[in-house]
Symmetry: D2
Subunit: 356 residues, 4 copies
């Protein structure tokens, strides 16, 4: 049985920001987690959440949270688990402080992603990496730790690569992204920069996409993660869509499988979460869509409540071998939803439990 | 001296369509050409142009054309030159008929592009290919012939490749396109398919981008064009922008020049039209923009009145060697504007002259 | 108890069109209705629904419908109830045929809206108008009849007017609409007409908005509906949003209540469906939002699963008395969702029952 | 002869902002004015204009300005004329200082608009109001003064009202605006607030639209402007278009002329600038478009290089008498272009001259 015996008390750190709002939306009615603390900057502290947050989502603020009083994120809330959507400029110290206080932090922020003993986790891809938390030194008692999820674009890429890497081994790949405006947070991209425009630049994104997949697809050895060794070249673009990062990927695989073989490998990807009953786990974590014009950002991004990665147009690439298109919901699977699923896995593994 | 002694009388074939409208807009006030005939389907024939055309451009119909009576495109107009924006379903016969009647056809339609004796022309790239018209057999007197311009995406790609191919030789390339809605003509893409959406599919586009560059960058030999031999892999996407196809290109060049070398090669690309005084020739046909977030579709597509191809973000590609971004105005440089420039070159070369 | 004893078998007429797709989406998992027949043009008949429909919604086709074989809409399906999203060009005969065959038709199509004995129904506004069906002569046995819902813009307007008309009486009003692209169906508005554009024209819309409210807000007398008598002036615009018609309304009310009084009247509007347990009835059918920048199309259109009409910015109008903004989800409350709620009311009233 | 004997030296105040950029774009190649000073905040001072400005327009920075060194706007530049696009928070003092220094200020900023002795000027509407500058006390020598142009939405409204007010007299009007994103400046509206959304709120806009028309359409009497006395009710909305405010206007005119009469009155509006040869004066300052779906924002906003106000859909309004739609280019006619035309009129009137 995966489910906790009683609901865990959860803090959302950075609760008023764009990622924090997604956490609150996704945790509304969650069967395992209760949002009992919303934490933000000192400026917001003391206000009700409804007053403090400029809510930007297309749903109303959940009633159970609207009236909560915002706490100063620099003070440790009394919870069983903290989700972090903190700005990177403040996350380093606050996440550490929570972990040191014995509270697991499941973070969407980038600060600890590449630290050797911190899992960069996608539950269907590298669930075994959670064992890394045992090496963390934040909390001698072993209860507090930090787990991160990857950058939103990386998630879509790695989900699609996972079955191919397992079956053949990735040697090199080229990826061009078409990323949604919501990926830039709020206020994010000015409308005069985005309306009917493509911007071929997202700061730091190409580097993240080159580095993070190697850690996620690395193997857990006695000395931690041994990174995978393939080469990634990324070109990242901002396009005027709301949610959903679409990726055009061309990949060189060992043994040069045909596109048809690769497609079937993708279609038959196993789901290591299948029997765990995690509430946020979608029916299909990876879906191969055979329509010639799929996946489309707007039309297919909500599959599996935003947790399904769609792959399509798996074709021969005369340059690298196989090419395809992948679509990931950047603020759900690629951010808050991915973090919630991470937490659910950690609960199922017994690594997060209710505090006395 | 390039300019004709008197203005040439010009027909626009397919005048009511999206490309035809661009021809009419671009030819308004042209110093060499006078639109004296607007030709369309039988259904439009007999109406004034203003009545027949559902004008979709952001300028009013030029007054000199608004009152012209539309002629049936299947009858040969008495002109010195015909620009064709005909639908591919009817272009084959009509363009041939014009050429056989001794009237040069400068076509934006795809039908004759890959025919061995028909130039697939970009004036700055392969101006010598116009000699192919001497091999055409449409008109024994040699006055009528067909010259085509490439597919809109191909134009942007090939303009950026030309200096690199000359300097190093292209071995292989991967290109992902983000193409404007105007490329689909009118009515084209339904708004419910385009609003805040990316569609990873444009029918036939990937094949054109793989084939056309090899002909354009081929060399003119005794037996016609000897195609270039590099490999192209294209993934084409429709994005919600008005005008402008943005291309993310990664290229393998002989000798593996650095990105810095490639950038300078692009920056110093010569302009073979520099001394010809062609009215539509822009100040810079290829512009390297060093800003980190350029070229952007909306912001830079109008450079050189839409005739300048902008290149930016020239960087090392760990997979293929060099990568960059290129932007082309699809309905100007990539369609009607390119065809007008083609005609100007043919006039300057003495291949198009006023008929008695 | 409102619920039927067993689920009713439902046909969707015009099932492959934009409205038909919304019916199918909204009826997926409906507790009272089972879609057992999908009916469309002869051209689609015989195909599976998944083959026949170009599905345009942002969810996948419900599995229970994807495999149904499409039937020719001109043949009467064996069902308890038909929802019609037929094109107006064919609806007249087909809807009549169903009614004559004893099958109630709940239609979103405009053909019968203004017919004297056909209810133009919004359940919260004029539920008593359903009694009109007893006067219909389609089916002597009285089981078959036709009920319609209003034009999408009218629904938003009338829902906001209802409490004001009841409390004060409307004398005149001016309304400017900003209507979503989905209101034009599929393929609907070409993207080149919609991208970053406003079109101040929607064919026939201004007339519908002037006529329909008078019938809906009319009173049921011995001779049918006695129309309300106020004056409506409408200016209708298409704006580049996906779903949601936003209305700027200025209204002259008898007795000249203040904006504050009008706001409270709107806020306290009773819900005549409150105790009926209709599955599609939202928690709030009319919601007054006091935020200074609400309601916003994208952000608030999904309230109540698209069934809530939001009203905001209730202010004094120096010209007519009171002005406000209203938002209605045009394809849910204003179309298929409204029709489903109509059917639910008719079931609750015992006017639609399972056939033997 | 209107033209100055030699070109006037011009400063642009607030040169790096969105309005300042429009000034610089519009003054590029202007036959009467040379931009010799670009002035902005202390933070930008000392940089080249190209370095200091985040240029957001769809053209490149004019070469003649790109290399100018930005001056601190709080120091008076040595020029014949200053155009002000200053932020309202600093305009009060700086504009006054320029006027006191004997330099005419033609301002787009709102601070002095409603001051009794400051013209709120639209050259075709109230050219005689420029005489107000003789009453200003900034500069005893009478050379320095301040002239303002109205809020962008007001301009479109008043241009359309002017011929009607002259012919009949306006009694009351209701206007709903659909305003472009560029009206909010840069960075302005976040893309997550604007994509596929309508926001029914623009701070302060409704008040400006109620007050400014009364001054502009007032008459110049012995004691200054006697305001017009009609009633205005405005509802202002932000819609996702780039440039162009579209207004739906319903107006009550004295004598209740028919819509046909009103249309012809609009069509025959005289142009008081017709013989002045002002470089920015368009061929038609007010254009009546009879197409049923015109004016459209994107398609018609550029008429007259953005200086033409288009009016269409002049119809009977059953509530107020006559209704119509008007379109104004908010950053050209409604801002920088209007200010340049104001300056041209002042030059033609001899009120602005080259300093010794």
């Amino acid at each position: 049985m995966s489910a906790p015996q009683k609901k865990l008390r959860v803090a959302v750190l950075g609760a008023t920001g764009a990622v924090g709002q997604q956490f609150i939306r996704l945790l509304d009615g969650h069967p395992w987690f209760d949002v009992t603390a919303v934490c933000a900057s000192e400026r917001s502290a003391g206000k009700t959440y409804a007053e403090a947050a400029k809510w930007v989502l297309g749903t109303d603020i959940p009633a159970s949270v609207a009236g909560l009083t915002v706490q100063d994120a620099s003070e440790i809330a009394d919870v069983d688990l903290a989700f972090s959507g903190l700005d990177a400029s403040v996350a380093q110290a606050i996440e550490r402080a929570y972990a040191e206080a014995g509270i697991p932090v499941v973070s969407n922020t980038r600060n600890y992603r590449m630290q050797a003993d911190v899992p960069l986790l996608i539950p269907e891809v590298n669930p075994d990496h959670t064992a890394l938390v045992e090496r963390q030194s934040f909390d001698p008692a072993g209860r507090g730790f930090i787990v991160t999820n990857p950058n939103c674009s990386t998630v879509g890429l790695v989900c699609a690569l996972k079955p191919l890497h397992d079956a053949y081994g990735v040697e090199a790949l080229h990826v061009v992204t078409m990323q949604a405006l919501s990926g830039a947070g709020y206020p994010g991209v000015p409308s005069l920069d985005s309306l009917a425009n493509v911007i071929p630049h997202i700061g730091g994104e190409e580097d993240k996409m080159a580095a993070e997949p190697l850690k996620i697809l690395g193997t857990l050895g006695p000395d931690g993660v041994e990174n995978a060794t393939f080469t990634v070249s990324a070109q990242c673009n901002r396009v005027p869509v709301w949610d959903g990062h679409l990726l055009c990927v061309s990949v060189k695989l060992r043994g040069n499988p045909s596109a048809d073989e690769a497609r079937e490998t993708l279609r038959n990807a196993p789901d290591p979460l299948a029997d765990l009953g995690l509430p946020t786990s979608p029916e299909r974590w990876l879906l191969v869509d055979d329509a010639p014009d799929a996946p489309q950002t707007r039309r297919h991004v909500h599959r599996g409540n935003g947790m399904t990665v769609s792959v399509g147009k798996v074709q021969p690439c005369p340059v690298l071998g196989v090419k395809f298109v992948a679509l990931v919901h950047n603020t759900v699977r690629g951010a808050a939803g991915g973090a919630v699923l991470n937490a659910e896995l950690l609960v199922a593994q017994g690594r997060i439990v209710a505090r006395a």
